[in-house]
Symmetry: C2
Subunit: 545 residues, 2 copies
Amino acid sequence: MAGPAGDAVKVVVIGGGFGGAFAARYLRRYSKGSLDIELINSTNYFVFQPLLPEVVSGNISAPDAVTPLRQLLPGVRVRMATVTAVDREQKRVHLLQGSFRTPQSVDYDHLVIAAGQKTNLDIAPGFAEHALCIRNLADAHELRNKIIRRLEHADITRDPEIKRRLLCFVVAGGGFSGVETVGEISEMTRRTLRFYPNVDPSELRIKIVHAGDRLLPELPAKLGRYAESILEKRGVEIVLDTLISSATTNAVYLSSGERIETCLLVSTAGNGPTDFCRSLDIPLRHGKLPVDRCLRIEGEDSVWALGDAASIPLDDSGESYAPPTAQFATREARCVAKNIVKTVEGKEPSTFAFTPSGALASIGSYKGVARIFGVSFSGLLAWMTWRFLYIGMLPGFSTRLRVALNWMFDYVLPRSIVQIATQNTGGAISRRYAKGDVISIPGQHVDGFYTVLEGYLESRVPGGNGQEDFVRILGPGDHWGERLAAGGGLSEGTLTASEDARVLVLRAEDFRKLREAFPALDDYFDKISDKIYAPSLRNHDEGHG
Amino acid sequence: MAGPAGDAVKVVVIGGGFGGAFAARYLRRYSKGSLDIELINSTNYFVFQPLLPEVVSGNISAPDAVTPLRQLLPGVRVRMATVTAVDREQKRVHLLQGSFRTPQSVDYDHLVIAAGQKTNLDIAPGFAEHALCIRNLADAHELRNKIIRRLEHADITRDPEIKRRLLCFVVAGGGFSGVETVGEISEMTRRTLRFYPNVDPSELRIKIVHAGDRLLPELPAKLGRYAESILEKRGVEIVLDTLISSATTNAVYLSSGERIETCLLVSTAGNGPTDFCRSLDIPLRHGKLPVDRCLRIEGEDSVWALGDAASIPLDDSGESYAPPTAQFATREARCVAKNIVKTVEGKEPSTFAFTPSGALASIGSYKGVARIFGVSFSGLLAWMTWRFLYIGMLPGFSTRLRVALNWMFDYVLPRSIVQIATQNTGGAISRRYAKGDVISIPGQHVDGFYTVLEGYLESRVPGGNGQEDFVRILGPGDHWGERLAAGGGLSEGTLTASEDARVLVLRAEDFRKLREAFPALDDYFDKISDKIYAPSLRNHDEGHG
């Protein structure tokens, strides 16, 4: 298909999930290869999101939950890059690419936005600091590694309080993703605990916290209740009609007032617009890009949107919108592709319509729930249906075969507990503490340089020899750990949150390097330590910093 | 077996590689479960190192190259922790464990040190900053991801110089590990290039640089030559009798004076003692712990060492020592275990003796070289022997089955190019530049806050409107990028190394957070920018930092 200048008409697709990848595939098919199609994504693979909880549990290996976009999309240009802006006047996409993130631009005749949504971690204080998501492969790896690290630590610690905290896992949100995740965590821990001789199964607590009055609101009540009874039989605690009101390094706090000691929280509870969609200067509808019934952004003639990023009306009532599921996204992709081809040919685009045939969820241990063509069923049959349908939806024969074989192995072979090291231990992270939380105790390794972002901390070092304790209050902008983090030392005092607080922690290794490299910073800390610590207490210096 | 106090005799093994894991296994077997055995390792898995190059190429998936230590070692306590010190007086091992790295200690009656070696990156300037190793799973992942990232970038860049650099891969060292690695890189790129339409196979350059006069010095000359001819046929360039004298972000420099543009260097060339072995206060012999012929540390009655960490005499000549191979390590493990059991029983330990039956290496693409029972052979037969022997050595039936199936698949299915995101983009890293290297050009995204560690850089911003360029020289302790890194902006000027230089780069995101959190730092940069930039040039501020 040729544009006005005689070149092939160029379609740029932003996003490589179900919406974007399938749109590119259908565009190629319907245009019979006459369009110039380029897909831009920040990773080089398509994520089969419904399988991510199984990556967490080790049921399938990571490469089997994803497919390289280049393999999936023959005839489509694939660009691994981050989109920074869209200039709709010039019909140009601006992006950063390569290891040095060089700015580049790509021109388009038609633009398809399938950028998805992001997990909204603003739903409660502490989620941004402490909640894990499961949106991509790195998330699934991180969650898996954290669970294994908690079990390894629980097996060797001598402190019963720490052990209790390490062995409590909390999932926020009781929809498909939350139920599948909690099911896989329960399955994984149940099958691996025998390798941890010092952990008794009764010590493990796995909780799912859901705002509604039953799990799986997407399915009929009967199936939600069935999922609940299966999870309960396996020891999962189901907390309904409850929100998590805040989270810290050590605990989550429920709207009921309850405090649960945990250092592993997974959030599947809220979604919101990506920074990219926010940056487009298009007023959002329900946090999504507003499209007309033909999936074109309202008021634009060459910008289209679909999938989770788009608010897609299913009729003219203004009340019914397409749900954010893979099933819908792939149908929307077909509609967008047809409409772009039609538009290029000078024809009128058609409206999107789709009635899904059903919905399914796996809850682990060969149990599932399903509603297909109006029939609800559950148990092994639903689980097998789920598996077979997903194998069918998996792109590529080799992936299908591998996943099928992995699932087959899973019946007979022990579950692996390999912790794939991510080495992601550098940089600045934030942490949240509740009033009274103990952050560091005497004898503990100081893991970084702490700067207070919000709230107050109290540092207390025992005076010794009958002297009073040396107490220091730290507020926003104050810092702690500058000497011990740089020197690799152990704390002599106790650091406590005297109010709810947020801190920024630059890991010890990074801080040490920066301080060594940068004389002004080193001078500053030398000077400030003279100011902070009174001469008579200079002998305690080691304990504060 | 009971100690003097009636408790079971406690044996602590440090290290979970071939030496440590097999020592723990044999200790359990020979003592018939009567010893209390604890193995301490920093990861919870045993790495099957000879398979790591195949993880890089995607031939086998990561979990198949490793086995969880707990699964491998029933009846042995496993502690995931980092050993910090050994108190041989008190017979106590000090360590850090858990996410907060709490100090702990473990007492022993007998100690087995199997801590291995580390890749020595001090062999030439720039190796510490830029060379990758392949010692563990994270290394293999990182190398694989980097290769894929280079191919992705090469496919979309418009700059021929950058493309040439991206498509050159250099391996240092021509022993087993180097040859297997270069073979797998060649195999992987050859099979995946068809997914990168803008990369022509002729543009790819893969080099192996070796100090000796032929590859595989461990094997007879004929086999080394055979490996060379196979690799050359596949387009690998073999550079013999040559050392890499230095490396930078953009190039490696050879002892011949040649400069090779590359941004991917793998080092398999030098090994050295770990920090732990150095810290033991035992004088090292050839960089290793000196043991007697019974594998006991000289002068100690309850500390043993084996594997790559130990210097093991094979006779009394003082000239013949055990080579650092997996074959030897597993035999040494058997000897250590027997000797500890004998010592506990009050018997005399025996001396270590082993004559290996042969050596094998895979060079990818169904080709290998082997020398077994004095017979040298090569090609498909050697490759199949290698595979079968390794499958046999793999611990655990499930791992064997998976690896065998993966290898079978590999004949028929396309190679995956999934880049498993490691998200390891935070923290402070160092980089090395050679005189004249361009570090940042106008319009480039500033990726971090730069502090000069050694050497000098020149920052030059065009004056514009007929004014002179604004030039600033940066020496050790000076910094660059403080405003652009914090603001996410693009450089307006050029930053060049005016001498060989090393810089510390704190990634932009971490620097921004730190600067926002820490008012003193922010003040400092505000003040310094007034000092650095003359008022008349204030309009250029954006370009410097």
